[in-house]
């Protein structure tokens, strides 16, 4: 088993880190405070190839692999969880399924501008009554001549409003249950398609999370992604990849928290000593660093298995479960080491703690991940 990074990954890490430190970190506090979507960052991310990392060059991508994509989400996550999830949702949840299941025409029309970062993407699966139980889709799509007519409401959609291309999951044949679900590509300015209320969130407050409302929204039938009835499979495979993205985001948050914390405990003095010289501080951070490193290996393994086209659903579920709980645990403990200052907005620690929580919830809660893992164990 190989633990070293390839040369590309070494150079990419350097690029990601510099870009994150210089372009992303300075905005993080403001985006959180003002709940502002970082429109200006998207064009910069696009210019340097961050919006289509794991897709081939002929489709406008960077020609990279999933590992290099996951490292990008991680490095962005270290400094700004908001920016990190924008890239993750765009890449894994929108460009990803079009690359995996799209026709050549769909790839040329939609994947190319997505991968180049000219257009932002989003994914609509969750509904008010179909969260963890995503098979309970209420949104319907009916074929009417050359068009599908979509009706229904999606909730908690990341990048909503700013995205121009949406992959939407809808029921084409209710009688068939999961096998009656299909996936579609919907453009933002399609009549009947609108953006609903924006959520006010605990963390990742700069990321746009809104309802999508479809009222007799007519799209050409060529915009069916895959075949009719393949939608549930498409959604699940999309989430397998997406979970590596979210795990990487969570990993980044935890790493960023540790970096900030190490810096702080070497500055802050109590009882005439730097608090980093107390064994409690040292052991806390040693414990956190160990968990983070184990998490990283699991995530990278999941990414490498995906790159090698081997089964990886269980690994991405494990990675996301572990990374989410690690991020929450590490940020909480870092706030504790910061003490009162950690609870204030003068330091980024409280923001990181708020941001971390969502990684245990979205793209499948930790409980969903445990369902996937136990089912892989044969427990049904």
């Amino acid at each position: 088993m190989e633990f070293g990074y390839s040369k590309e990954h070494v150079l990419l890490r350097d690029l990601y880190r510099k870009f994150a430190e210089t372009e992303v970190k300075p905005l993080a506090e403001e985006l959180d405070e003002e709940e502002r979507f970082p429109v200006e960052s998207i064009s910069k991310l696009a210019r340097f190839g961050f919006m289509g990392i794991p897709f081939p060059k002929e489709y406008g991508g960077a020609g990279g692999d999933y590992l290099s994509y996951s490292m990008a989400v991680e490095e962005l996550g270290k400094v700004c969880a908001t920016t990190s999830v924008i890239v993750s949702a765009h890449t894994s949840l929108c460009a990803g399924p079009i690359y995996m299941f799209g026709t050549e025409e769909q790839k040329q029309k939609y994947l190319v501008p997505l991968a180049k970062g000219e257009k932002l993407g989003a994914f609509g699966l969750t509904e008010p009554s179909a969260g963890t139980d995503s098979s309970m889709q209420q949104t319907t799509a009916k074929l009417d001549g050359d068009e599908y007519v979509l009706n229904g409401t999606k909730v908690f959609i990341t990048n909503a409003g700013y995205a121009e291309i949406y992959v939407i999951i809808a029921m084409t044949d209710k009688a068939k249950g999961n096998r009656g679900i299909s996936a579609f590509i919907v453009e933002k300015d399609t009549p009947g398609f609108s953006i609903g209320k924006k959520e006010r969130k605990m963390g990742i407050r700069g990321s746009a999370t809104c309802d999508l409302i479809m009222e007799n929204c007519r799209i050409p039938k060529e915009n069916l992604l895959g075949k009719e009835g393949q939608g549930f499979k498409i959604a699940m495979q999309t989430l397998d990849g997406g979970r590596i993205g979210i795990a990487s985001q969570a990993l980044g948050i935890a790493e960023g928290a540790i970096e900030e914390c190490v810096k702080y405990v070497m500055e802050r003095k109590q009882f005439k000593k730097k608090i980093g010289q107390f064994q409690n501080t040292q052991f806390e951070l040693a414990d956190m660093a160990t968990k983070v490193e184990a998490t990283k290996l699991l995530i990278y393994k999941a990414a490498c298995e995906k790159d090698a086209h081997r089964p990886y659903s269980h690994l991405s579920a494990m990675a996301k479960y572990m990374a989410g709980s690690t991020a929450s645990d590490v940020t909480r403990r870092c706030v504790q080491l910061f003490g009162g200052y950690g609870y204030t907005r003068d330091y980024p620690m409280e923001r990181m703690m708020r941001d971390a929580k969502i990684t245990e919830i979205y793209e499948g809660t930790s409980e969903v991940q445990k369902m996937v893992i136990s089912s892989w164990l044969g427990l049904k």
Binding site: K7, E8, L15, F48, A62
Partner: protein, 263 residues
């Protein structure tokens, strides 16, 4: 137009530390970077190429580890890369280095050569002008702006401490770049993958020996030699006053200024 940029891989000095016991520089684990002025030069070259067409070639003299610096340059958008490397070249001072690089540039070919003004480890600012001298080229150093360019000339803004010149120079020529000239772009993700599909051509001693003053290269041939290196002595500490009220602090400062006849 064939634009050639000379770059140097240097330790990231912000992170350089002194071993408190031996007083020597700890270079282990210190990351290496492309020297900042040189990176500015790369950006200027890429901008020049975008403006008037041509190719950007990047050249570095150094050990094989300089490979990553050249890859980074390729990932920023340079077209081809050369590594000038040989045991015989080690320990060269600026005179020797410029002789070797000039011989390499002679082989590679050029219309415009861009170097950074100076490297952050040596801070000499001599290699650029000395390459120009060896190649009998006009030079403009301290370039802070690219004003205009055409098929056979470039016009630049040359910085002085008390103003600037706008200088037009016919190609072939050499320019040295300062930080004000350009903000270096990032590598692109796609560029990184492309960089590793390209070959970095190595130029060694054998390829260059006919074009070199053989007694003027390497540690032995360099006209200047290091007599010794030492850690800088810090000025002795004076009084540090803690726990003063702002008023007491102000009084202490004013008293000191008065004592030293500043006010």
């Amino acid at each position: 137009m064939k634009i050639v940029v000379c770059i140097k891989q240097v330790p990231d000095t912000v992170e350089v530390k002194i071993d408190p016991k031996t007083g020597t520089l700890i270079r282990d684990g210190v990351p290496s970077i492309i020297n900042h002025d040189d990176k500015t030069g790369i950006e200027a070259a890429l901008t020049l190429k975008e403006k008037i067409g041509g190719t950007v070639t990047v050249v570095s003299m150094g050990p094989p580890q300089a490979d990553i610096a050249l890859r980074e340059a390729l990932a920023m958008g340079c077209d081809e890369a050369y590594l000038v490397s040989a045991r015989e070249f080690g320990g060269s001072d600026t005179y020797a280095t410029s002789g070797i690089l000039a011989a390499a540039l002679d082989k590679i070919g050029y219309d415009v050569i861009i170097t950074g003004r100076q490297a952050i480890d040596g801070d000499t600012a001599q290699v650029g002008p000395q390459i120009a001298e060896k190649l009998h080229l006009p030079q403009v150093s301290y370039v802070e702006e690219l004003v205009d360019a055409g098929a056979d000339y470039v016009t630049v803004k040359r910085q002085f401490e008390d103003g600037y010149h706008i200088v037009k120079v016919k190609t072939p020529c050499l320019l040295t770049a300062i930080a004000e000239l350009a903000e270096p772009r990032y590598m692109s993700v796609g560029g990184v993958f492309e960089a590793y599909t390209k070959e970095i051509k190595t130029i060694g001693f054998e390829e260059l020996k006919d074009g070199l003053e053989l007694d003027m290269i390497g540690l032995k041939g360099s006209p200047t030699n290091v007599y010794k290196s030492f850690t800088k002595e810090m000025k002795g500490a004076g009084t540090v006053l803690n726990d003063l009220t702002p008023e007491q602090a102000v009084e202490a400062i004013v008293n000191k200024l008065e004592e030293k006849f500043i006010i």
